[in-house]
């Protein structure tokens, strides 16, 4: 194992919770409302069910090989050559997703808070801090997240409470007015981002100290993350109405502007930005970490820290190249990405699980 740091199942669950909120709480309300209009919040519920399926598949697979990551056991299950290729796909997946999230946050920050600042400064400084965190290992990520999470969620809840007076409940009507089909379409999009992305946690399984409890805490994380996302979609729709939400880029950001209490608490949206950056930060960190550790495992290096900086530079450059602008990305994430990510998230893990079961691999601790 390259990173000898250990986190416990609770920390892992917290990480997944933050990971789910990461970029999704900024972009999901808009895409959900554009697919399913006033029923956008229902899409998250179906997507969360898919998320639980993903978690069940990769934890069942991971528990067969509790001391190895997906990159290592893919070689055992699929044989050396195919395993190597599949393993490399799982280095590329977090790498690509990480670049995408960095791109989303780079645009988000420059659009909402720092219009005059060059975009590469924003993403570069963020990646530098993330790289520092990653060199500290998974323990550092677990601890920082554990420290920030309660404070962040408290403020998020406070924001929702302050918005209650702006809720217009008839925005939700008619419920399922267009039938279930648009909801299903929307939930496929929400299932690929963020719930499908949880597949990268298959990389972290060997670092969890009480691995038997991890499935439960992951499922809890998906449920709670789904709840928080549902609330963010719901409050955006309740405040702004589905047609406005669908047209805005960052509806969850915009609704904070609606808070106006005592003539003093006004235009707090930049404060909201800091909340999402702190969760998006963890999401980028987890992708980046998985890409770095994955590459080190794939190349059989003795330490992943030597690839942290090179991977960071590549992510930085790739985020400029692959992520053009908001509109392009919204289309890409809504139409192409779900199908692009499907093999990574469900097909390959399920295939490996079935092959491992048929070949009766794993299930024993290494060294026995």
């Amino acid at each position: 194992m390259l990173d000898r740091g250990k986190i416990n199942a609770r920390q892992a669950g917290f990480l997944m919770f933050t990971f789910l909120l990461g970029s999704a709480s900024v972009i999901v309300p808009s895409s959900a409302a554009s697919f399913a209009k006033q029923d956008g919040w229902l899409t998250i519920i179906f997507a969360a069910l898919i998320g639980i399926a993903v978690v069940l598949i990769f934890t069942n697979l991971g528990l067969l090989f509790p001391e190895q990551s997906i990159i290592q056991y893919s070689e055992i299950i699929l044989g050396k050559w195919i395993g190597k290729i599949v393993g490399f796909l799982y280095v590329l997946y977090p790498f690509y997703s990480g670049a995408l999230v960095i791109g989303i946050f780079r645009d988000y920050v420059t659009v909402t808070a720092l219009p005059g600042t060059p975009a590469i400064i924003v993403s570069g400084s963020m990646l530098a801090v993330v790289a520092y965190a990653i060199r500290g290992g998974i323990e550092t990520l677990g601890r920082v997240n554990e420290l920030i999470l309660p404070f962040r969620q408290l403020i998020v809840l406070l924001i929702i409470v302050l918005l209650i007076t702006d809720f217009k409940w008839n925005h939700l009507l008619p419920i399922l007015g267009d039938g279930i089909v648009p909801v299903m379409k929307g939930s496929i999009s929400a299932a690929s981002i963020p719930f499908g992305e949880t597949i990268v946690f298959a990389m972290l399984l060997p670092n969890i100290s009480n691995i038997r409890k991890v499935r439960r805490s992951y499922i809890f994380a998906v449920l709670l993350g789904g709840l928080m996302l549902t609330m963010s979609v719901l409050s955006a729709i309740l405040v702004l109405g589905p047609s406005v939400v669908a047209r805005l880029n960052y509806p969850a950001h915009e609704i904070i502007k609606y808070i106006e209490k005592m003539g003093f608490l006004t235009d707090m949206d930049t404060l909201g930005m800091t909340l999402w950056i702190s969760s998006g930060f963890m999401k980028i960190a987890i992708f980046y970490y998985c890409a770095a550790v994955g590459l080190a495992q794939w190349c059989r290096l003795s330490d992943y820290r030597s690839v942290v900086i090179p991977i960071g530079v590549l992510i930085f450059i790739f985020s400029i190249a692959a992520y053009g602008n908001l509109i392009e990305d919204a289309v890409f994430l809504g139409t192409i990405w779900p199908f692009f990510s499907f093999p990574f998230v469900i097909l390959l893990p399920l295939l490996m699980l079935i092959i491992a079961k048929i070949r009766r691999l794993g299930g024993k601790r290494a060294g026995e």
């Binding site: 600042t117 500290g136 601890r143 420290l147 800091t274 950056i277």
Partner: protein, 511 residues
């Protein structure tokens, strides 16, 4: 000129002229070494060697000199002095001082003279007697200057190691209290004591402390800061990873949590380790005041910790990048007061903060009456003049003053100065990237703290990693009857502090 050490393993010859000659060469040009020569009886030449100022002359007179002369007289009347076993006879029956040892090596003789013992050499006896009659000028036990309390003991450590050990021992009258002595410093030979409670402190931590202390090979240890920098975990971190205190009650409280204390001679500051960030935010008084008050004071401290770190940078970020976040009236008054100011907010803030730090430093170094004058002139006159001259704005003066006060609310001085220094990079982040920069800065600091460890204990525990049962003594302070368990990280072996049923309840009515 190279100092010539006396040859190793040289033995006391028993021929007094020879031994004395060697000692006189060793101690030549050392005017504080006293060689008191006398006769034991009529025939036996003897010499007493000690350092003037490090022995108590009264004890030397009454407990060494007088009994020796009387003994010499008696022996003379009987049969003359017999030399065989004389040293143990003197030790057991004659000298009335409480601590007497014997030794046969010249190096021992030199060491004992230097630590303040009185050495007795007798012609014809190839052993030296080391008599402890130490006594030198000491500061009395006073109230510690850096950790004053309203409620709590007023005793503080002094520069004398034995006094300090006594102050601890008086609070823990148990053989479980261990005090392991050692000497550090090739030239200073400073006495150092590692102290802990056996059965509560983690053996692995104690062993690690011993190991790191034994590594130290330096010419002198003048203050606990030397030891701190030589044994800490992350020498390049700005955060203090070892706490220090002048208060015996504080160190005892920490020993009871399973921590290890290091006492060092010649300084009133003792080290406490391992330590977490949150422990440095606690004052000993928190545990003596009523718990509700203590809890509120703690919350106040954390609030002002955030202010001390972030207020100037938030102000800069808001004024430079996010003006819309200020309420309209506040924005107007801020803009009006900044109208005449020629600098951008970041320059203005840096200017003021740096002058504030300079004022503080000047106030510490100067003699007290002058120091006050400097701070009055600096704070009031310059501040007022700078505002009316239009060089800085009035809100900035307010911000800087609040930040200055806030930084003094942190109980640990080394922690406070860390926070004050971190304010500057935060201000630069705010001036370049606004709130986003502030957030990145805070994340960086948190990541850094998460990576730190103090003797194996994560710096941010018990919050990260979370130990739910230890939260009773972090942001809040539960009443004493609720502190049933010691902290998880340092006292795993013996977590239970008290009976679980100590909560006082009124007696039932009736009867």
């Amino acid at each position: 000129m190279e100092y010539r050490t006396p040859p190793n393993n040289e033995l006391v010859s028993g021929e007094i002229a020879l031994d004395l000659g060697m000692l006189r060469t060793t101690f030549e040009r050392s005017s504080d070494v006293v060689f008191r020569e006398f006769q034991l009886g009529d025939t036996q030449a003897a010499v007493m060697i000690f350092l003037d100022g490090m022995v108590d002359p009264l004890i030397v007179d009454s407990d060494i000199m007088q009994p020796l002369l009387k003994y010499g007289e008696q022996m003379q009347q009987k049969s003359g002095v017999s030399l065989t076993g004389l040293e143990s006879l003197l030790k057991n029956q004659v000298i009335t001082a409480s601590q007497v040892n014997t030794g046969g090596q010249i190096q021992d003789v030199i060491d004992h003279i230097l630590v303040g013992d009185t050495v007795l050499l007798i012609d014809g006896v190839n052993k030296a007697l080391f008599i402890s009659a130490r006594g030198w000028g000491k500061r009395a036990v006073e109230e510690p200057a850096t950790e004053a309390v309203i409620r709590g003991p007023r005793e503080g450590f002094t520069e004398d190691l034995l006094t300090n050990i006594t102050l601890i021992r008086r609070r823990l009258r148990t053989p479980q209290l261990k005090i392991e002595g050692m000497q550090l410093g090739r030239l200073s030979k400073t006495d150092v004591a590692i102290t802990y409670l056996e059965g509560i402190a983690d053996e692995a931590v104690i062993e690690e402390v011993r190991k790191r202390m034994n590594r130290i090979d330096i010419d002198a240890i003048l203050e606990s800061g030397y030891v701190e920098e030589l044994i800490e975990d992350s020498p390049f971190s700005i955060f203090p990873q070892i706490n220090y205190t002048e208060r015996p009650d504080r160190i005892v409280g920490n020993l009871l949590e399973g921590k290890v204390g290091i006492l060092i001679d010649n300084t009133p500051f003792a080290l406490i380790l391992p330590v977490t960030f949150f422990e440095m935010m606690q004052a000993s008084e928190d545990y003596y005041q009523r718990y509700i008050v203590s809890t509120l004071i703690r919350l106040l401290r954390y609030m002002f910790l955030v202010i001390a770190l972030l207020l100037p940078s938030l102000y800069i970020a808001l004024l430079t990048f996010h003006q819309e976040m200020l309420p309209t009236s506040l924005l107007l008054s801020a803009a009006a007061s900044r109208e005449a100011v020629p600098f951008p907010a970041i320059v203005e803030a840096l200017l003021m903060e740096i002058s504030f730090e300079a004022l503080r430093e000047a106030g510490v170094r100067l003699p007290r009456p002058v120091g006050q004058a400097v701070s009055i002139v600096g704070a009031l006159v310059i501040g007022e003049a700078a505002v009316s001259a239009g060089i800085v704005s009035a809100p900035m003066v307010i911000i800087v003053s609040i930040t200055g006060i806030a930084s003094f609310i942190v109980p640990s001085y080394s922690q406070a100065i860390t926070i004050r220094l971190l304010r500057f990079p935060m201000m630069i982040m705010a001036g370049t990237l606004g709130l986003y920069g502030v957030l990145l800065g805070v994340l960086f600091i948190l990541i850094h703290m998460s990576r730190l460890r103090s003797f194996g204990v994560p710096y941010l525990s018990p919050l990260a990693p979370l130990h739910a049962s230890d939260l009773k003594d972090v942001l809040i302070r539960v009443p004493w009857w609720g502190m049933v368990r010691r902290s998880t990280e340092t006292a795993k072996n013996n977590p239970r502090r008290m009976k679980g049923t100590l909560r006082p309840r009124p007696p039932k009515r009736g009867g």
